[in-house]
């Protein structure tokens, strides 16, 4: 038997705190063989990153090893001297960190950073041999303008290019083990798909073992052979990817899989199942199974002690006393019953609530004028969820801010309930300000850390509602309950709440004004999948009960199609395609929509996805003043010169929607669907 590249043996690790808390990783045992890809999934706080850093023996300032050891190719890392560790890190073991912008040194040219790795980890001296090695590394990660990139500083590259440079930095010393810590979280889906493909190819070529840390189960399915589910520092389930995704046996794994919107969930109109609660408090760990407080199957036996990992199928281990029955049962587990709810489309009325006409937002920068939004038209009906989807830099945030009145558009009109409101929020009538509310991406930034939750909800009630002051408190509690929080939270400060709870408060604050339209700018992007599902349910519920219309902006097509009645797809400031969710998900596609769908990782089994090859985006910024189609430079279906010289016509293939493309209706109609069900 060959030695594993990486092995954790009974590894227990804690951070020294006052008062002492439970270990962050508990008796962790795992191994990765040569060339193998092991994925580690779990909610944030489950110990994934701690584990990754430990694989390089980076303990942090307060980290302390309690028990066990880590071996890399049979060498125990615990015994290594600082000098030996330095040789190991970046040499035998390399890491691609999460955020490329903060992981590359901003004041050192890319070429220099690559040379540095070789300087420390190879016998090469500066000179032609080293130059060649650096060039080879860039070519390996498909960076072609090598000369320019070597001379660039990191900020001169796009996000995808930066991430590829980081991969080159990690791979240039030909490591045995590559650790990927959420390698694509900050990237657009189309870039993400390309990067994952690239890593897969390099891994095959060099036989590198990969430890992949991610929260995205779609990536796991596509990319790895084995998977470990980590919960509060414990392995709760491990085994081959196919086995785990198709026959999950631990209630937690089942929960995680269920909260991801299914590919056809917009047709079923169901609430998403959620996992109640959050990770256990490290100051007060449950005595028995750590998942018991959140588990729908919990029974008295569960509190007797932490269950041991047991084998339920070949190489499939589960830490649950009910594992065997659960593995074979296909019952969907959830703490909320996923009962079909009234079809949300009923809530949509025919009259137009918001109309955006020829809206454009231009920014003057030192490099010239940037067209963030370039002539966008759409309408949102009363009670409708309108999804706006697009990658970073497509202008969706500028659009949201214009509608919200935080930004005055350069041209175009915004009509809200037949009034022209194309101006700064302060100049709008107070009633319009009440009726349009916004929920932001990061609740950490949208709630004032110095205000209690009560104070935060009180203000909009005071300003906008007709309630008598003595009833303010009742109204606040009612609002909190409508977002599944309670009066306990009144006197809390935002930092005492979890990310999901904070976002609920932000939603409650928007609803406090009794709005007609709520603009949600990436409202679930900073949240775990388990929390995300709860927020999506909440939004749908207020659409149904309060007849609130939502403009739901996201880069995640999975989420958008779950919640939206209609979807608008934007690319570099312009609309490519708009139509109902069902129309958008089936052919004819705009080539960009096709690419987005093709790049979206799918977890669900029994769905075949057609691959779409899309070149990397070359531009960093939003659209310019192109006369033609802005997608032309990346379009796999490019017709010819006409794409670059003429604005694409509206093919009007969708009911009340648009599809701007030079492809003829016949060509568009001949497109194959992206998703097909396997029999």
């Amino acid at each position: 038997m060959t030695l594993p590249i990486l092995a954790f043996n009974e590894f227990t690790f804690e951070f020294e705190t006052k008062p002492p808390t439970a270990p962050v990783l508990r008796k962790l045992t795992l191994s990765i063989g040569p060339g193998e890809t092991l994925a580690v999934v779990g909610e944030s706080g489950s110990g994934k990153s701690t584990m990754a850093y430990n694989a390089m023996r980076d303990l942090g300032v307060t980290g302390r090893l309690i028990n066990g050891n880590i071996e890399v190719s049979g060498i125990d890392l615990v015994d290594l001297t600082p000098g030996e560790l330095r040789k190991l890190r970046g040499g035998q073991v390399a890491m691609v960190p999460q955020d490329p912008m903060t992981s590359l040194s901003p004041s050192v040219r890319v070429g220099r950073q690559l040379e540095e790795v070789l300087f420390f980890h190879s016998s090469l001296k500066r000179g032609p041999a080293m130059d060649e090695a650096v060039l080879a590394a860039l070519q390996m990660v498909e960076l072609h303008e090598t000369e320019r990139i070597l001379r660039s500083y990191p900020h001169e590259l796009s996000g995808g290019q930066q991430q590829r440079v980081l991969i080159a930095l990690a791979m240039i010393s030909k490591p045995d083990l590559l650790i990927l810590d959420e390698p694509t979280t900050g990237l657009d889906v189309t870039t993400e798909a390309r990067i994952l493909e690239l890593i897969g190819r390099i891994q095959k070529e060099y036989g590198t073992a990969v430890l992949l840390i991610t929260h995205n189960l779609g990536i796991v399915r596509q990319f790895s052979q084995r998977v470990i589910v980590l919960y509060a520092g414990d392995i709760v389930e491990s085994g081959p990817v196919k086995e785990i995704l198709e026959n999950p046996a631990h209630p937690y794994t089942k929960g995680l899989l269920n909260c991801i919107p299914q590919i056809d969930s917009h047709l079923i109109e169901m609430d998403l199942p959620t996992i109640a609660g959050g990770l256990p408090d490290r100051n007060a760990m449950p005595s028995g199974c750590l998942f018991a407080p959140r588990c729908p199957l919990v029974s008295d036996q569960c509190h007797a002690g932490i269950p041991e990992l047991k084998q339920v199928a070949e190489a499939h281990h589960v830490r649950c006393i009910f594992a065997e029955e659960q593995r074979v049962s296909n019952q969907r587990l959830s703490s909320v019953s996923s009962t079909p709810v009234p079809v949300a489309a009923d809530a949509v009325e025919d009259d137009v609530l918001l109309a955006v006409e020829g809206l454009a937002v231009r920014y003057e920068t030192e490099f010239g004028v940037v067209h963030a939004v370039d002539g966008v038209d759409f309408q949102c009906r009363r009670g409708e969820v309108l999804g706006i989807v697009g990658e970073s830099g497509c202008g969706k945030s500028s659009l949201a801010r214009s509608i919200a009145g935080l930004l005055v558009p350069s041209s175009g009109r915004i009509i809200f309930d037949q009034q022209d409101i194309t101006r700064d929020g302060l100049q709008r009538p107070a009633d319009v300000r009440r009726r349009i509310q916004m929920v932001f991406q990061n609740p950490e930034h949208s709630l004032n850390p110095q205000h209690t939750i009560e104070k935060c909800l009180l203000r909009p009630i005071k300003l906008f509602s007709q309630i008598a002051p003595e009833n303010y408190r009742d109204r606040i509690i009612e609002l909190l309950e409508s977002v599944k929080l309670n009066s306990y939270h009144l006197n809390r400060y935002p930092h005492e709440l979890s990310g999901g709870e904070r976002q609920r408060v932000a939603i409650a604050r928007a609803l406090a004004a009794e709005p007609d339209l709520v603009i949600c700018d990436e409202p679930v992007s900073s949240l775990d999948v388990s929390v995300q599902a709860g927020i999506l349910n909440l939004l749908q519920e207020s659409q149904r009960t309060d007849r609130v219309a939502f403009i739901f902006i996201s880069h995640d097509l999975n989420v958008v199609r779950h919640i939206s009645n209609r979807i608008v797809v934007m690319y570099r400031g312009r609309i490519c395609e708009a139509g109902t969710t069902a129309e958008l998900l089936s052919p004819p596609y705009h080539p960009y929509t096709e690419a987005l769908l093709g790049a979206t990782p799918i977890v669900q089994s029994g769905i075949l996805k057609r691959k779409v090859n899309l070149p990397y985006s070359t531009s960093k910024a939003a659209g310019g003043e192109s006369e033609g189609c802005l997608f032309a430079d990346r379009c796999p279906h490019k017709v010819g010169l006409i794409c670059e010289s003429e604005l694409p016509p509206d093919r009007s293939l969708h009911t009340g929607g648009h599809l701007f493309c030079h492809l003829s209706n016949d060509q568009l109609g001949a497109m194959e669907p992206i998703f097909t069900r396997t029999p």
């Binding site: 929020g425 949208s446 205000h451």
Partner: protein, 287 residues
Amino acid sequence: MMGSAKWSRLTSRQAFGLAFGSIIITGLIFLAIFGRWLIPYDVEAMHFDHLKEFPSSEFLLGTDRFGRDVLSRLILGTSTTMLIAGASTALATIFGTIIGLSSAFYGGIFDKIAMRVIDVIIAFPTLVFAMFVIGVLGSGIFNGIIVISLLFTPSIARVVRSAAISIVVLDYVNVARMRGERTLYILFYEVAPNLYPTILVEASIRFGMAILVTAGLSYIGLGPPPPAPDWGTMASEGRSIMFSNPWPVFAPSIAIVLAVIGVNLLGDGIGALLVAKPSRASGSNVK
């Protein structure tokens, strides 16, 4: 319940500092108000048989070269020193905060003009600027306060502006704008509370410097006119013969150090009490 939650925001170091700082500052305020009835000797009385003496049971902190009791002068000096330093720091903090916050919030041309004016004031050497203003206004305690607050407003404004600039772009400020809140509400209810620690720490540093600037002004004859002795003046007067007669320099120097430490500890402690969670802008992200 809320009260205990607030106290738990302090680290043990901060709690100790807060207690220590409040004792010092309360004591100094007490001396400043009631000192004139507590002094053992008249401050101007010269005891010619006790020149340049070290501490003794008769003169607890010794005497200066004119045979004046150092302890009495020190106690009486408390009120002048605390008044000038305290009032000028308070004024500078108030105006500096208002200018800094508005500069960060409005940005654009207002910000540019405010910052350039501030640059001009900061570019002047402290004493030259002080001489210029006092030359126009005349010397005295009140004018001293005006000069020092004029000197300190710019630096406080700048510190507040740079901290506020990262707050005014946050989404909770956007939410307040969308609600149609008035600028004053946004500045003082949404932005400022996040900056209290920054402002208080800056103010306590300024307080210490105000005492030193007062001394500097007195040294070149632009301070509060005699007989009101302030600590800075006492220390600088005795400086030339401090090797043969150290106590007239020691005593006020130690008093200045104690006052500055007291104000710093108090400022740090109150700052920690006032904020629910130090925001990143405050620079003290306590884990």
